[in-house]
Amino acid sequence: MALPLDVRDLSTTLFTRRGEMKAVDGLSLSVGAGETVALVGESGCGKSLSALSIMRLLPDPPARIVGGEVLLNGRDLVVLPEEGMLDIRGQEIGMIFQDPMSSLNPVATVEKQIAEVLMTHTELGRGQARVRAHELLELVGMPDAGRRLDAYPHQLSGGMCQRVVIAMAIACSPSVLIADEPTTALDVTVQAQVLALLKKLQADAGMAMVFITHDLGVVAETADRVVVMYAGRKVEEATVDELFETPLHPYTAGLIGATPVPGAARAERLADIPGMVPPLNALPQGCAFAPRCPRVMARCRQERPKLTQPAPGRLVACFAAERG
């Protein structure tokens, strides 16, 4: 049986006046039913553009998918005409965005925004859609759901807005859910609630989930597998336990080192990764991480490392890791 989501060698390029930038470069990503794959990396490493590429929601111009396949239950979305994508979005793939407050239309009621998905993809009429919207709000744990139907987004808190966005995303029971930093804009306590909600919904419906985040704490809590991205490329892939136990790529190790650990000695300073993600139009010739890498070798500056499989289910693109 085909996987719910199987991305193969996906490449997205930004065509700008300053030149072409490979924002997503040969990304492969497969997610099974009920599985959560976290897409991790710093800002600007291509996580969100990967998600938007899967949804075919890229701002065009400047961004365009230039290669690869996005197989949704075996069907390639990259070659699908736009009308075909309309049936996919919201129905087979649900998406949750980073800032819940700005993700909702400020001049439409909660009910209207949820009912809209239902009425687009199902046969439900206005009245039935309202009933279903009420059920969905209760499903996502909206307090006082009945009264919130007629509320406007500005009358809700950030956490409540995110519940509305989640309700919209799962309204048509999609097989794939893409969550693009769904908790970044929320308070820590609300973050935990929203994560627990997403996990529960996913377990109940057996959805495949792509979870985009830069927060490794969230990764440890939600993901089964982790894909680490750097400058548009996948640099490491592993199960969540393996990744935290033995990170192979120096970048992954750096990310983990930069995450505070509760109970660690106070005097110990958090490690950081020196420098910044290079601009996509000025990537170095060899490994994109080489200028910031503590284990850099002469070869890293000449040649771009390919993904290798040091152990079953693990992938890494690093010469230093290959040598061990």
């Binding site: 996919i88 979005r89 993700s103 400020p106 001049v107 009358q155």
Partner: protein, 349 residues
Amino acid sequence: MAGELASPAASRRPTGGGSSRRIAALRLLRRRLIQAVPLMLGVVVINFCLIQMAPGSFLELMTAENQVSDPATIELLRKTYGLDDPVWLQLVKYIWALVQFDFGFSYRQNRPVIDAISDHLPATLLLMVSSITLALAVGVAAGVVASMKVRTFWDSLVSVAAMFFFAAPGFWLGIMLIVLFSVKLGWLPVGGMMTIGGVGGGATGAGGVLDVLHHLILPTLALGLFYAAIYTRVMRSSMLEVAQLDFVRTARAKGLSRNQVTIGHVLRNALLPVVTILGVQMGTVLAGSVVIESVFSWPGVGSLLFDSVSSRNYPVVLGIMVLGSLVVIAANIAVDLVYMWLDPRIEIR
């Protein structure tokens, strides 16, 4: 206008629903009506003083025209029209009369000012309403088209047309429209509000309505296209700006088509700036109609104002100023209510 409109984030009450918004609208209405009182008073005082500063009085013209030179008669007239009182007392008396809806007496028409004006006001209101309707319909539609076809031939066409109608003076545009549609093509009447001695000349019945509409087309175009040009520009940029916002991406992620997203989500948010400038421009629409009325011999207050100024018929001039201000204030209140209806984030402090 946005004076007492609270900032969007000011209230985060978990209430929704129509009834609370209706109450808020009524509170806004009450507040604006109360505010209108000192505003009107200011309008009356300033206009009264302006007219006092104008040289001469209608009495001079009146006596000259009727060749009255007897000082006793002039003195009697002066008393009759209350011109022997000190200026401040005249003002107080005028305000007191206004409160009772008495706008004074027009010696020229030999009837109360209010009667003279109410003969002409409906024509002006009709022209204003039709022009604003045209401007909104054309401006919003053209702005939406331009934004959806941004940086294409259609976008450029709309921009050039908007630039043209923005730059063209109303009186010139009016004359050109007359030359084209009335003189060359003979499709539309040159001026006036109805055909003299025509079919339905009594302005009643369907024939009369059609006749008036027929006469209304050119003045509406001449007055409305300027505002249509402004709304087109504002709407285009507003649509493009709103289209960049996050909730539009959310709407697309729901599987809505481009048209559904544009009409259902972008349009209503993009309308807000158009409504804002609409309120600001109400006064200039009224002022613009004065010019257009004289081009098309439209029997509105514009022509009455022009006649009255040239005959120093100051009670009528003052009356038109006061009633015009009332129209503008009422229109602004209406715009505020529309704005509130469009944007639920607006609540009164």
